[in-house]
């Protein structure tokens, strides 16, 4: 396991906007953060208009930490992940912010360097694993190629390492899996293969975008266990994107709740479930079906705003039962509820 270099972000600090300065209080700057995103902004530009789909995201991931991003469809979870690894496609543009990773701002590095980082030190897995694998290559061919590029392994050494990796992600007969093609894998097996590929370069950070959404519940649990074991054994930092609060409860250390391109609340997982401060987080927790529950659910009225006409003020205000005048006019700043718990709500102190 490679040591994680401390992130160096000295100089840029002073020039940051006031609402981000809250970030400085905690966690202490220059700690063991693997990744630190500051005020990330992304815009999609179309011929007649453009849409800001990330309106200033702040998020950090500590070493060996699993941070969950939860939010509804279109809230910007995938765009956040794609921006980190430089895979955001046109017409999407990063229009501002920093993404510090091991002392480099990922938004400043060139395409070649980004490709090297992406293959080596940050890996990403997706919702539909079979579609992310090239159908004409066997698992063995792809895995050996990745090992050749990243570790210079060839021949027998590459095959041995490939078998080791496949066994490590819990595949029963690694030698047989090596010979298989993507269409010969079940969804769960394909996701394990993707994770093996992601681990081939011993990354420091794994981004998982809805890694279990397409899987059956018993297979989902196996993948949750695998990701959890990787945190344990390799100290692998992870960002896990999901809309499933159950997956968050099982797996994550910390949670960021996204809505309409902003993070509305962020806290350690137990705080989110025990003492959510944002009305949206509270609504989400109340709305989900739970096994111990019968009867009506408390649903959040209305629907997610169309990003083209983002409401003024707090993006949740049109659906919020507590919204007042200020909520509909001014954008709330992130405030610290307690050291590791932040919320962007004008009225959180009144409502607490």
């Amino acid at each position: 396991m490679r040591a994680v270099p401390a992130t160096g972000h000295g100089g840029g600090r002073a020039s940051l906007e006031p609402d981000i300065a809250v970030l400085d209080q905690d966690p202490p700057a220059g700690g063991t953060d693997v990744l630190r995103i500051n005020d990330l902004r992304v815009e999609f530009r179309f011929p007649r208009y453009s849409v800001e789909v990330l309106a200033g995201i702040d998020l950090s991931v500590g070493s060996g930490e699993i941070v969950g991003i939860v939010g509804e469809s279109g809230s910007g979870k995938s765009v956040t992940a794609l921006s980190i690894v430089g895979l955001l496609q046109r017409p999407g543009f990063v229009t501002g912010g920093r993404i510090d990773f091991a002392g480099t701002d990922l938004l400043e590095v060139g395409a070649d360097e980004m490709r090297a980082i992406r293959g080596n030190r940050i890996s990403m897995i997706f919702q539909n694993p079979r579609a992310s694998l090239n159908p004409v290559f066997s698992v063995g061919k792809v895995l050996r190629e990745v090992l050749r590029v990243h570790s210079g392994l060839r021949g027998g050494a590459a095959t041995a390492r490939a078998v080791e990796l496949l066994a490590d992600v819990g595949l029963f007969d690694p030698n047989a899996v090596l010979r298989r093609y993507p269409h010969q894998l079940s969804g769960g097996m394909a996701q394990r293969v993707m994770i093996a590929l992601a681990l081939a370069s011993s990354p420091q950070l794994l981004l998982a975008d809805e890694p279990t959404t397409a899987l059956d519940v018993t297979i989902q649990y196996q993948i949750i266990q695998l990701l959890s074991r990787l945190r344990q054994e390799r100290n692998l930092a992870q960002i896990v994107i999901t809309h499933n609060l159950g997956v968050i409860a099982e797996l994550c250390d910390r949670v960021a709740v996204m809505y309409a391109g902003t993070i509305l609340e962020e806290a350690p997982v137990e705080r989110i479930f025990d003492a959510p401060r944002h009305p949206y987080t509270q609504g989400l927790l109340a709305a989900r079906a739970r096994t111990e529950l019968t009867g009506r659910l408390e649903s959040i009225p209305g629907q997610v705003p169309d990003m083209r006409n983002r409401p003024p003020g707090c993006p949740f205000s049109p659906r919020c039962p507590h919204a007042g005048d200020v909520c509909r006019t001014a954008n709330p700043a992130m405030e610290a509820v307690e050291p590791r718990h932040r919320v962007a709500c004008h009225r959180w102190t009144e409502l607490a």
Binding site: D216, T218, Y221, H243, A249, F273, L293, V304
Partner: protein, 355 residues
């Protein structure tokens, strides 16, 4: 108790698949499926992908012809009916699909899509159609302004409301809901689940609710039937089945369902590997290769769904032989998975088998 609205007896659906040049083998998608459903009641059909839930739904609607068994609706055996008579029965049973957008024709205004079945089955006179469409929209919580929109201009939740309005147009007695909320966001899913509850109360609808999400099932269903590889392996009242499962597969499903809260402790049962092939399945229990409780007897005798008490049944051979008063302690060294261990508080959960 009065005669059930829907009575399915020994339903079977096989597909011939080729293997090699001469050999044909059978893919058994549904095997020995029996269930009943009364007006105003919800039965959930639970299982993982490929377990045959949707096949059962399609066979009941006669969208596919079953290979065996019989389906009775209101006492009429619909498996015996000619295609033309089936069409006459169609209005009685309707389906709501998982992907609302895919089931709605993008070229027509959604009001027209809801009007179609009204006209097709002559439910109301020509002049009444528009009024009835607006009524149906109101019934599912959509304002009149949505009638003239196209599906893609609606949110996912609104699309699913249109799908439900369309299904209700023919005044059906039975709705087959095939994962109706799994494509929706959490907050919208809650709206649709509440809507389905309210509609059931008002219209005394019977729901066959196909789902793999036990949390959603426990909110909506009176009874559940758990399917594995084409067979029902356990049935009974929802609460009982989920809290005290008689079949190891049900236990595994319950155990794999994510916790509601990060501190919740949960019994975890390891189900190794993945489901076996549905081609030429054995007569004995199909879970044997994955089951932590399997013993030689499980591969030696045929597994049949047998009643355990007045309202519950299971296909587990060991349970049938060893249970007493509905409690089964399989004993022995059953491999139980460790719960996920967090980096922040590496706590090891205390696990007990029958708690």
């Amino acid at each position: 108790m009065s005669e059930p609205l829907l009575d399915v007896i020994g339903l079977e659906k096989r597909y011939a698949v080729r293997s090699g040049v001469f050999r044909h083998r059978d893919l058994v998608a549904a095997d020995d499926v029996s269930l009943t459903l009364s007006a105003g009641e919800t039965l959930a059909l639970v299982g993982e992908s490929g377990s045959g839930k949707s096949t059962v739904g399609r066979c009941i609607l006669r969208l596919e012809a079953p290979s065996g068994g019989c389906v009775r609706l209101d006492g009429t055996d619909i498996t015996e009916l000619e295609e033309s008579d089936v069409r006459r029965l169609r209005p009685e049973m309707q389906m709501v699909y998982q992907e609302p957008l895919e089931s709605l024709n993008p070229r027509h205004r959604v009001g027209k899509l809801v009007a179609e079945p009204l006209v097709l089955h002559g439910i109301v006179g020509k002049t009444e159609v528009r009024n009835r469409v607006v009524e149906l929209f109101q019934l599912v919580g959509l304002g009149e302004e949505h009638v003239d929109r196209y599906a893609h201009a609606l949110s996912g939740g609104q699309q699913q409301r249109v799908g439900i309005a369309r299904a209700l147009a023919t005044n059906p007695k039975l709705l087959i809901l095939d994962e109706p909320t799994s494509a929706l966001d959490v907050s919208v899913e809650a709206q649709i689940l509440n809507l389905l509850r309210d509609l059931q109360r008002r219209l005394r609808l019977a729901y066959l609710f196909i789902s793999h999400d036990l949390a959603v099932v426990s909110m909506l269903a009176d009874r559940v039937a758990v399917m594995y590889l084409g067979q029902i392996v356990e049935t009974g009242p929802t609460r009982d089945v989920l809290s005290n499962s008689f079949h190891p597969y049900t236990r595994a499903l319950v155990s794999a369902t994510p916790v509601d809260h990060p501190r919740q402790k949960k019994l975890r049962i390891a189900l190794t590997g993945e489901p076996a092939s549905p081609i030429d399945p054995p007569a004995h229990c199909r879970l044997v290769p994955r089951c932590p409780y399997a013993e030689p007897v499980c591969s030696a005798v045929a597994a049949e769904l047998l009643p355990i008490d007045s309202c519950r049944s299971t296909r587990c051979v060991r349970f049938q032989q060893e249970h007493c008063d509905g409690i089964w302690d399989p004993g022995g060294d059953v491999p139980i998975q460790d719960t996920v261990i967090r980096s922040t508080e590496s706590e090891v959960n205390e696990l007990k088998l029958n708690d």
